[in-house]
């Protein structure tokens, strides 16, 4: 288990967002079971390339949070809206982008969910977990697409 995992991670700004297209793109309706099939495909590839169980755990957890955020907060669970998942998995890293059709948000405005006055609130931990488990988490300028990068470990 990694011991240097930051407990105060931060999603990076749009300047770090790499907008070059990734080789695989799947457009799905805002339906979590369809999104999870893509999640499984990404994980199958990573496991097949020898990514460690800890690394696959990190990718699954972060993808899950990103997909749920896209569906619930981005698309407001509207079945007429789409989720676009693009990804590249190779021997070096996993790169995944999850885009929704919402209006976006400013990740810099998120409160610290570990603060004493917020620790007992039931929501608001998804992005924190993504930041803790991924090597890079950044949003596009609109804030409706997140890019997750995990180096092979």
């Amino acid at each position: 288990m990694r011991s240097n995992r930051s407990h105060e991670p931060q999603a990076r700004s749009a300047a770090d967002f790499d907008s070059r297209p990734l080789p695989h793109q799947v457009v799905i309706s805002s339906d979590l079971s369809a999104a999870r099939e893509v999640e499984e495909e990404i994980l199958r590839k990573a496991c097949g390339l020898g990514y460690s169980p800890d690394c696959c755990f990190a990718v699954r957890l972060s993808l899950e949070e990103a997909i749920v955020n896209a569906h619930k907060h981005g698309n407001k669970a509207d079945p007429n809206k789409k989720i676009i998942i693009s990804h590249q998995v190779d021997g070096q890293r996993v790169v995944v982008r999850v885009r929704d059709e919402g209006t976006g948000f400013d990740p810099g405005e998120l409160p610290d969910c570990t603060a004493p006055d917020r620790i007992s609130l039931p929501n608001g931990r998804g992005i924190m977990l993504m930041c803790a488990y991924m090597d890079s988490v950044c949003y596009n300028a609109t804030g409706n697409e997140v890019q997750l990068v995990k180096e092979k470990c």
Binding site: M1, R5, H7, D31, L32, S33, P53, D54, F57, R60, L61, E64, E65, V68, K72, C113, T114, I119, S120, L121, P122, N123, R125, G126, M128, L129, A132
Partner: protein, 122 residues
């Protein structure tokens, strides 16, 4: 999402003294409607007891999401309202890390094993 039999949460419950032990039998606690159903079933247990003592056994759980953490926080509030107590036990190292990152290891009574958890609820 439809409620198919496969998407029903599987919980194994038993009593030991005044402690209700609940073992999650699913490997993944991820889907929102499953998490909601788990929350409802645990709330039923809490609501039917005075000063409830609840032991949640995570031995089978390999993945959970932030929504599951939220459900546990809500459950803790329900227990607090009824002067109840809860312990979490047998948590895999990867899942324990999730509790540590979110600092929820400070909020919850997390014990290594069933025996320690039962003692902590005595």
């Amino acid at each position: 999402m439809p409620d198919t039999p496969d998407s029903q949460p599987r919980l194994k419950t038993r009593k030991q003294g005044n402690v209700t032990l609940v073992e999650f039998e699913d490997r993944k606690i991820l889907e929102e409607h499953v998490i909601n159903l788990i929350g409802e079933r645990l709330a039923e247990i809490v609501e039917t007891q005075n000063e409830p003592r609840l032991l949640l056994d995570f031995r089978n759980v390999e993945h959970l999401s932030s929504a599951a953490l939220g459900m546990l926080i809500t459950l803790k509030k329900q227990l607090d309202d009824r002067q109840g107590r809860m312990a979490l036990a047998n948590i895999h190292a990867q899942i324990l890390e999730v509790f540590k990152i979110t600092r929820l290891n400070k909020l919850f009574n997390i014990q290594n094993n069933t025996e320690d958890a039962i003692q902590s609820l005595a």
